[in-house]
């Protein structure tokens, strides 16, 4: 069955650039463990109103809406049909993208394509998740019934399995330690203290506290993992002509790439070590954007790190450092707010994780940095920003934004 498969992409696929589009506004809710004060459409409305206000446009200016949400986490089918009114979507072209953790970034890329198609001028992308109204780990355990379901353990088990391989290979040979992972946890939660939207607010967290937190699944402590959050986020994407005519600051899309990978546990040996999907997506997005030295060329990165060790692996996959040098990067403070490349000034997924919105939040935060509106988490002079998505077992999106039009 797989003999005819051709797993590698063609060179043309990896470097093809799309019609330029721009993000002209964004918004997000205040994220929390439980937003029982609002329904799902009301949660979406909060983010959408914030995005429309940020873009200085009205609901009638939106031509089409794309949703991102993982429906089984709340036990729904077609939730966009119920929630569309929260995004002023009734009577408009609407559909939903759902690809696990990459749902949000893939929905954003779908928005880039719709706005670049010449059919729509202005497209609203909105991601939401209300984990408090469902049971996420049950949803995540609904994997292939023949091969994977009997060992399904949700996000935690999958990460523990892959991270243990990563750690055993890297900790022994190249010096990545659990202290490095704990430093990532501390960086994320301290950055989140500058972000009024973030779910977890732990400004005084220490490495010792991370290491002393409850062991969930070797080597993952409680504070190595992301939370489950209720929240929504939205971006407004405009076609090149629409964005240009506004004469206002915008975050222009210079590169966007998606890569999916083998979906079965047994096919994904050492996935956090090889990270081939993210490496391939990054190579494509960087080629489109002319990024040759990511650490030098990027000013800020908002990456989708559901676990501390994942952030370390992504440093290598995204070319921030050579393989095996991720520990040095965090040791040297390179990815801290005052470092050469601040990573996740928002606090990242480690501080806020409404899954359907988490990828959109990465793009919201990256574009907000370029527009200079990130307030206490602003990276001074940010002109080039990276946003990534990560989901299922190894699916990856990589997006490069700049404040200048391509």
């Amino acid at each position: 069955m797989t003999s005819k498969m051709t797993p590698e992409t063609t060179p043309e696929t990896t470097s093809r650039a799309m019609t330029p589009v721009a993000i002209i506004g964004s918004g997000q809710t205040n994220h929390a463990k439980e937003r029982s004060d609002v329904s799902q459409p009301e949660l979406v409305r909060e983010a959408v109103d914030a995005a429309l206000q940020d873009a200085e446009i009205l609901p009638e200016d939106i031509d089409a809406v794309i949703f991102s949400n993982m429906e089984l986490f709340e036990g729904r089918a077609f939730p966009e049909l119920w929630v569309a009114e929260g995004a002023y979507g009734n009577g408009k072209p609407v559909f939903k993208v759902a690809t696990g953790g990459t749902s949000g970034t893939s929905a954003c890329i779908a928005g880039f394509h719709q706005a670049g198609s010449g059919i729509f001028d202005t497209v609203l992308v909105v991601g939401f998740e209300k984990h408090s109204e469902g049971h996420t780990q049950t949803g995540m355990a609904l994997v292939d019934p023949f091969w994977d379901r009997s060992v399904a353990s949700g996000a935690l088990g999958n990460f523990a399995l892959s991270i243990s391989q990563y750690v055993s290979e890297y900790m022994a040979g190249r010096g990545v330690t659990e202290e490095h992972a704990a430093q990532v946890a501390v960086k994320a939660r301290r950055n989140a203290a500058n972000n009024p939207h973030a779910h977890l607010q732990m400004p005084d967290l220490t490495v010792d506290e991370v290491l002393a937190s409850r062991m969930l699944a070797e080597p993952l402590h409680l504070l190595d993992m992301c939370p489950q959050s209720d929240g929504a986020a939205a971006i407004v994407v405009a076609s090149r002509d629409t964005a240009r005519k506004r004469g206002k600051a915008a975050a222009w899309v210079h590169g966007a790439a998606t890569r999916h990978d083998q979906p079965y546990l047994g096919d994904l040996d050492r996935r956090l070590v090889t990270t081939r999907a993210q490496r391939s997506a990054a190579a494509s997005a960087y080629a489109q954007a002319g990024i040759t030295k990511p650490l030098r060329d990027l000013d800020v990165a908002e990456i989708y790190e559901p676990a501390t060790y994942a952030e370390l692996a992504w440093y290598e996959a995204l070319g921030f450092c050579e393989d095996g040098q991720a520990g040095r990067l965090i040791d040297d403070g390179i990815t801290q707010m005052d470092g050469e490349l601040p990573v996740n000034p928002s606090g990242g997924v480690l501080s806020t994780n409404p899954v359907g919105a988490s990828g959109v939040i990465r793009v919201v935060e990256a574009s907000t940095q370029l527009l200079g509106r990130a307030e206490r988490r602003q990276v001074d002079g940010a002109r080039t920003a990276l946003a990534t998505g990560y989901g299922v077992y190894a699916w990856s999106d990589v997006i490069v934004l700049r404040s200048e039009m391509p």
Binding site: L81, E85, M140, L142, Q262
Partner: protein
């Protein structure tokens, strides 16, 4: 025949199509069904796996009992280390998104795949979980009962409606070939049990298992496979109406009217006449709503193969309608066709594709 001055700039080309035979219970797994149609579509297009830049899949997690249900088909659609997007709606919406991607210059050739396997669980019961959990789901309604409410409202001041719908169902099934359902008399339709008053079992399109694949390509890349006889997509449109349907749109497919107008505008259609029309109607009253909304007139022929009344599967219906339009138009000159898909309760989500030959 489409007048030459009305012929539009093609948005994308249709390079290949394939579908499984719809059955009540396909013994194959979802990946096996999907692999069969993907390989057949590639063969139809005379393309190989390397020729496909990206994949758009359509599936619904709750129907499959899988989270991120495109996981089940990632390998068999050839999406390993490729871009894949999953649209959780009717398969024709996935095709519409592929058109967006090609027009944006992102990819040259895209494989669009939809699958549905109603045999795995009670389909109509599952659809109750597509209702909002605050107002509608507690009422116990699902897509079937909503269709019954819709039909009841339409029949309220029309004493001949139910017998007319029985005639429609019998007519469609008399034309059905190769699907689940065969010919049935009007009397047998009227004698069949009521499933959602006034709808009777014999009026309802049977829902089973199926998969469908369509390969779309950029018409401007000089594709070696693209000939003058190939079918092009000239117009696309989709729409989502209000969820709380009793508020306004239950007896009017206004969303389809909006979606078709968007497609007509892109395709340059000023008078909606088509050589082939393939609606996605599960119930005969929906055909009347369809005809009214797309403006083709009550006498215009459609569903030459019996439409969905021959049998269909969740999620694939609209994409399989496109396949039938493409196959009907292939080899003809200057003709136009319309494919329709819908998702959600009582036609809340609507999608239209206008195809044509040069």
């Amino acid at each position: 025949m489409v007048p030459p001055d009305e012929r539009s700039r093609a948005l994308v080309s249709v390079l290949g199509t394939a579908e499984t035979k719809v059955t009540f219970e396909d013994p194959r797994s979802i990946p096996e069904m999907v692999l069969a149609v993907v390989e057949a579509a590639l063969e139809d297009a005379a393309l190989g796996w390397h020729d496909i830049d990206a994949v758009v899949t359509a599936s619904v997690d709750l129907f499959d009992g899988l989270t991120a249900s495109s996981i089940a088909v990632t390998e068999v659609v050839g999406a390993v280390m490729k871009p894949e997007t999953r649209i959780a709606a009717d398969g024709l919406a996935a095709a519409v998104h592929a058109v967006h991607q090609i027009m944006a210059g992102a990819y040259r050739r895209i494989l669009v795949v939809a699958h549905g396997k109603a045999s795995m669980a009670p389909y109509w019961d599952l659809t109750a979980w597509a209702m909002d959990p605050i107002f509608l789901q507690p009422l116990g309604v699902n897509f079937l009962t909503f269709a019954g409410l819709q039909a009841a409202m339409l029949a309220r001041h029309d004493p001949h409606a139910v017998s007319r719908w029985a005639t429609t169902a019998a007519l469609r099934r008399s034309a059905a070939t190769g699907g689940i359902a065969g010919p049935i008399s009007v009397d047998r339709v009227m004698a069949s049990p009521v499933v959602a008053s006034p709808l009777r079992a014999g009026m309802c399109a049977p829902v089973g298992d199926g998969a469908c694949a369509v390969i779309l390509g950029d018409p401007n890349i000089g594709d070696r496979n693209l000939g003058e006889e190939d079918v092009r997509i000239a117009g696309i449109g989709h729409d989502v109406g209000p969820h709380h349907l009793m508020i306004g749109e239950l007896t009017d497919w206004a969303g389809l009217r909006r979606a078709s107008q968007r497609a007509y505008t892109l395709a340059g259609v000023t008078k909606p006449t088509f050589a082939i029309v393939e609606p996605s109607c599960l119930f005969p009253h929906e055909e009347e709503l369809f005809v009214e909304a797309v403006g083709i007139g009550t006498t215009a022929p459609h569903s030459p193969g019996g439409g969905l009344f021959a049998g269909t599967a969740p999620v694939i219906s609209g994409l399989s309608r496109l396949l039938r339009v493409v196959r009907a138009l292939k080899g003809r000159t200057g003709e136009r066709g319309l494919a329709h898909g819908t998702w959600g309760p009582a036609g809340q989500g609507q999608v239209v594709v206008v195809a044509e030959t040069p």
